[in-house]
């Protein structure tokens, strides 16, 4: 008996066939939180799209999410996925998995890879790796300057044509004022956002922690706050001059918040982000000499922390961004001055944020999803209201459950987080991702790929 010949399916058809085989998912009994506020409601998802929102929806794979929040998936404006170049610490796949477990449906990948994301080839590679992993949308950022050297502009138009919406030299700030002016003018023409890592390098040589009384006692070179504030001030004024859209990465000082607040009052198109760790940990942690606390910008004073929290509450700071920075164990097991700065963030962001911010859930969703989606230029598919027709990029989280951060259970390849062994309140239960092989990227806390 001859076997009937089968034609190989196209990938589109294959996807369609796969999705057809999956019944629709109904998130039953949750509390929907998006830009419209909070409301009870069931959500039906089919073929990567929200098809129905209402009461007592039936039919399909019913998932009980009572007690949980159902919100647009989180968007991280600032994640180091380390691929290409430092796959020992993280790959786009493991980073995506960590992101999905943290409730993220999109990650802006920082460009300090090796080779850096200053060419279309690398940007496309990063995007494709993200698609292959199929757990979050990996949105590559582009370098402002070639090689992030701060000397000559990267081919921003080419990169913008390849889909890049945010440009940054993160890891470094652009030191030269004229070059930054040019970048802003050029970027304005392209309609892209320039994101700055604010650090005047000459003031922070060898610095290991915040410059303060603690570093005096510990005899460690300090990172004075003005090294950040001077560049924040400079770029605000350059933005005023050029009209460019500027986003400030990982703000860490009270005065930086004040400067941004004043700039917004003046109607300038500036935005800002803060990391969960800068909202919760202060400089005295360095007294333990544990390199897990070494970050750039450094952990600051309680006064700074209070101002940052206030900035999130009053909208001066638009977004929480993790600055997820994985490092292999052996690199963090060096002296404080030799260890690279950075800590993980994707899987603990929600828990830490809920622990330190006294905000209502609508505001939390605003700073973790809606605003960052807008700043990243992806709000057509992320950070959207949960309504029929919207792509199903959704996070379902329990804001009250307490859980212990166990190193063995982290999806990231690295382990450099100070929250290991601590108890956090608030945890992602499910993440739905429209670009995946199935509706869920994470189901019941387990990554689906």
């Amino acid at each position: 008996m001859t076997k009937p010949m089968t034609r190989p399916m196209t990938s589109q058809a294959a996807l369609h066939a796969t999705q057809q085989a999956i019944p629709r998912v109904v998130l039953r009994g949750g509390r929907i939180v998006d830009s419209r506020g909070e409301r009870a409601g069931d959500v039906a998802v089919e073929n990567g799209v929200v098809t129905e929102v209402g009461d007592r929806i039936t039919g399909g794979d019913i998932v009980d999410v009572s007690g949980c929040v159902v919100a647009p998936g989180f968007v991280d404006l600032h994640a180091h996925l380390r691929e290409p170049g430092k796959e020992e610490a993280e790959t786009i796949e493991t980073g995506s998995r960590a992101g999905a477990k943290g409730g993220y449906t999109a990650l802006v990948a920082m460009p300090n890879t090796d080779p850096p994301q200053d060419s279309v080839a690398v940007v496309d590679f990063v995007r494709e790796q993200g698609k292959r992993a199929g757990l979050v949308e990996v949105v590559p950022s582009g370098c402002i300057t070639l090689g992030r050297k701060g000397e000559a502009l990267a081919p921003m138009a080419e990169l913008a044509a390849a889909g890049v919406r945010i440009f940054t030299d993160d890891g470094n700030g652009v030191q030269d004022e004229l070059l930054m002016r040019r970048a802003m003018e050029y970027g304005k023409g392209l309609g892209v956002t320039l994101a700055q890592h604010c650090e005047v390098a000459t003031l922070t040589k060898g610095a290991v922690m915040n410059e303060c009384s603690c570093c005096t006692t510990l005899g460690l070179p300090g990172w004075p706050s003005i090294a950040e504030e001077l560049m924040v001030f400079r770029d605000i004024e350059l933005a005023r001059l050029t009209g460019a859209r500027v986003h400030f990465l990982h703000l860490s000082t009270a005065r930086s918040v004040e400067l941004v607040r004043a700039a917004k009052r003046d109607g300038l198109p500036v935005t800002a982000e803060v990391t969960p760790h800068h909202l919760s940990l202060d400089e005295t942690r360095l007294a333990s000499f544990d390199t897990v606390y070494k970050v750039n910008p450094p952990l600051r004073s309680p006064h700074d922390i209070a101002a940052l929290r206030a900035g999130v509450l009053d909208g001066t700071i638009d977004a929480l961004a993790t600055d997820h920075a994985p490092h292999p164990r052996r690199e963090k097991e060096l002296s404080l001055d030799q260890a690279p700065p950075g800590m993980l963030g994707l899987e603990t962001a929600l828990g830490v944020a809920l622990g330190v911010l006294e905000v209502d859930l609508a505001h939390l969703v605003r700073v973790m999803s809606i605003n960052p989606a807008r700043i990243a230029g992806i709000s057509d598919r992320h950070g959207r209201d949960i309504e029929p027709g919207a792509p199903a990029n959704i996070v379902v989280f329990d804001p009250r459950v307490e859980w212990q951060v166990e190193p063995g259970k982290l999806a990231s390849k690295s382990r450099n987080t100070p929250f290991v062994g601590t108890t956090l309140r608030g945890r992602v239960r499910h993440t739905l991702f429209a670009g995946g092989r199935g509706p869920f990227s994470v189901r019941d806390g387990e990554a689906q790929a």
């Binding site: 290991v208 410059e211 303060c212 009384s213 570093c215 005096t216 006692t217 510990l218 005899g219 460690l220 300090g222 004075p224 333990s288 000499f289 544990d290 390199t291 052996r330 097991e333 060096l334 002296s335 404080l336 001055d337 030799q338």
Partner: protein, 316 residues
């Protein structure tokens, strides 16, 4: 009680007094025809010196040997640290050989604390970055105690002159001398002072000449030539003029005042007069007391009351 000697603050006033008292015993041992006791027989003390310092390292090794301990030396140039083995791997490998104490000097702050996480051995800080050098402070306190015949330094003024910002000797001495009741004055240009000393038990002056008359102990720090290229001081000549000890300044000191320096000296920079010509220089005594102090430290950590608790814990 005390498993490590990493900083003066960790040691505390009681520990400080205990070690100073124990040093007298060790001074006596060092005067014997056979200056050796079997107290640490069978124990192994490893020198982990990541920074060049022949003098301090030899001082520790001599101390260990006089207590009959075995010694091992691990210097960074011959180590596998340069081949990419992490610090942790190095410490764990040596620890696995069954050793009792590490004596560590490193140019990075915090190394002794990090090392303590990776080994059961006692850790002695022989200098970590700009942070602490507790045995130097013990040597200095003991030298003053011996010279002035006092156990407490109430009413005495210790003036430390020089590159305070980068000085672990200064930090340890500020803590130790304050614990013993001394008043501490720091003299330096603002560029060589740490960013914020408001919470330190010190007085600050930018002018050495203003404080000489009320100084009982003058402690000169060494100025490294790199400070010039880093913009801390315009040039060494200017530094020597404003903060160096010359004959004119030496004459302004009260007759009973003593002079100290942790060594090595930069002649022509902070020292413009030959200290051996000054009657009250304790610099030689500081060197001489180094071994006895370090013997006291090793004995206390490995054989004293403090170590018995550790042994009891290990046995239980």
């Amino acid at each position: 009680m005390m498993k490590h000697l990493r900083s003066i603050d960790e040691l505390g006033r009681d520990g400080l007094m205990r070690l100073l008292d124990l040093t007298h015993h060790m001074v006596e041992v060092n005067h014997r025809p056979v200056p050796k006791v079997p107290a640490l027989r069978g124990r192994t003390v490893v020198s982990l010196f990541f920074e060049d310092s022949t003098r301090t390292r030899l001082s520790f090794e001599t101390a260990a040997k006089r207590l009959s301990a075995d010694t091992m030396t691990f210097s960074v140039s011959t180590s596998s640290v340069n081949k990419g083995e992490s610090l942790r791997d190095t410490v764990e490998t040596i620890s696995d050989m069954g050793i009792d104490a590490f004596v560590v000097r490193h140019k990075s702050t915090g190394i002794p604390w990090q090392i303590s996480e990776w080994t059961n051995a006692s850790v002695v800080n022989a200098g970590d970055g700009w942070h602490q050098h507790p045995t130097q402070a013990l040597v200095d306190c003991f030298t003053v105690r011996e010279a002035l015949g006092k156990e407490r330094f109430d009413g005495l003024t210790l003036t430390i002159v020089g590159d305070i910002m980068h000085s672990r000797v200064a930090r340890s001495n500020i803590a130790a001398f304050s614990m013993l009741g001394a008043r501490v004055v720091l003299v330096a240009p603002p560029t060589l002072l740490p960013p914020d000393v408001s919470h330190w038990p010190v007085e600050v002056s930018y002018r050495l000449d203003d404080v000489l008359a009320r100084t009982d102990i003058l402690y000169m720090l060494r100025l490294q030539s790199e400070r010039m290229s880093q913009g801390h001081v315009p040039n060494l000549r200017e530094y020597a003029e404003t903060y160096g000890l010359d004959a004119v300044r030496a004459a302004k000191l009260p007759p009973h005042a003593v002079l100290m320096h942790p060594g090595p000296m930069n002649r022509g920079v902070e020292m413009l007069v030959d200290p051996s010509l000054l009657p009250n220089s304790l610099i030689h005594k500081q060197v001489a007391n180094g071994v006895a102090v370090r013997m006291a430290v090793l004995f206390d950590l490995l054989a004293g009351e403090s170590s018995a608790a550790g042994l009891a814990q290990a046995a239980s």
